[in-house]
Symmetry: C2
Subunit: 248 residues, 2 copies
């Protein structure tokens, strides 16, 4: 399993991904899930993937091949980020179709899902979630984030904290807390964690990039502080005793 | 959708359930999902259901019918709570089989899942999750809670707070917070919320029972306090700035 978060702030774009991949209990591997295509001064594109690793690797390989061979459409030529989202949707669908008849294993699923974000010169930043079916959605006004993979455990904290005018340090910290809650509740999401911030309208390489290994000093201190703070937050809640007295 | 939590503390058993049922977007109804079978001084049994409402209603109706007609096996005669878990598993499976060939609607799913807890005289308290397949599990030593329905959003707070020696007021408050996080992230889980505490070895009717409507004064104050406290807990976390300085 995987967990990736993309956030579209007024300030810029935040991306956070774990790196664990599992293909059955005895094969847990780590793979980078955060890919970047960069033409400094002209465009910056970030792509995260969840789902079938063969499909998502094939999609990334095809994107790179189309770029290298200067295909009629490629990420360097595209006019809009949304066109690139369409293109990734098509590549993913084509790749899945190759295996649609299924293999010997029951329950085979070649689906992959993507978060694509970035900016092309002269346009605003954009952020999309591309479905295995090939279509895509963007963020909502009020909740400007998208998630793929194991999304539910880490959603409540994003719902509470992330707004379009949140500053990027807060958003990145919130993404890490969301990732940590997910890792705690689901063993198939795990470090290293990659965290990247692209500052809007710079068209430059990421302003901030961090990579956290399992025992990273900051990650350990964040985890400990969050655990303590959540307990305190919980202990400070109004007691139910008044309700017991009322309802009995 | 539904969300129900069962907790087995040293002190006793806690049950919490929402009451929203949806059968398509234009048919959102509320139904009690918390059922109780009581023989004061002899046994106390609590049952919560999630999944197909027709199946779970049929199962509850059959339990009541077997009790009324004094069937060879019924909840009043059973020697062990685990035998009742087996019996509920069988009733559910029989009910699902009736409709296994499917109806005209695609994606029809008659599955239901159950949390059964209680105590029979001379035995400890017991708590089980009964799967649609008819088999069941009990709680683990370290994490003595079970969830059914929309379980993921509300799991992190239970993971952090609930232990076997947690007191029942804390556990009930934690169940409410878990329920509130779930309602916030998923519109198909909703009030009224039922919350019940059975004190171990009393074999008496519940020591504490509360029912919360949408705008219940305590629920509103809890929600507001949790929102404030979580923000404070989050704002007090160590800043990422040190990592930015380190990694760049």
């Amino acid at each position: 399993m995987t967990y990736c978060i993309g956030i579209r702030l007024k300030e810029g774009l935040v991306f956070c991904s774990d790196s664990r991949t599992n293909a059955g209990p005895d094969r847990v591997s780590t793979y980078g899930k955060l890919h970047r295509f960069s033409l400094p001064g002209e465009r910056q594109l970030m792509l995260m993937t969840a789902g079938n690793l063969a499909t998502s690797q094939a999609v990334v390989a095809q994107i790179e091949r189309d770029l290298r061979e200067d295909a009629s459409f490629n990420v360097a030529k595209a006019q809009y980020v949304s066109d690139i989202a369409d293109y990734i949707g098509k590549l993913g669908l084509n790749e899945q179709k190759k295996y649609a008849s299924g293999g010997p294993g029951a329950g085979f699923n070649a689906e992959a899902t993507y978060i694509l974000g970035g900016q092309i010169k002269g346009q605003p930043t954009e952020l999309y979630l591309v479905y295995p079916e090939g279509n895509h959605i963007t963020v909502s006004e009020q909740y400007p984030f998208l998630q793929i993979g194991e999304t539910k455990y880490g959603k409540p904290i994003l719902d509470r904290i992330i707004r379009p005018d949140t500053d990027h340090e807060t958003a990145m910290r919130c993404a890490l807390v969301s990732m940590d809650s997910t890792m705690r509740s689901n063993a198939t999401v795990g470090p290293p964690i990659e965290l990247l911030y692209y500052a809007a309208d710079t068209l430059a390489d990421p302003a901030e990039y961090c990579r956290f290994e399992e025992n990273d000093e900051y990650l350990v201190s964040l985890r400990r502080a969050w655990d303590d703070n959540i307990r305190r937050a919980f202990n400070d809640l109004p007691s139910l005793q008044a309700v017991f007295d009322r309802d009995l």
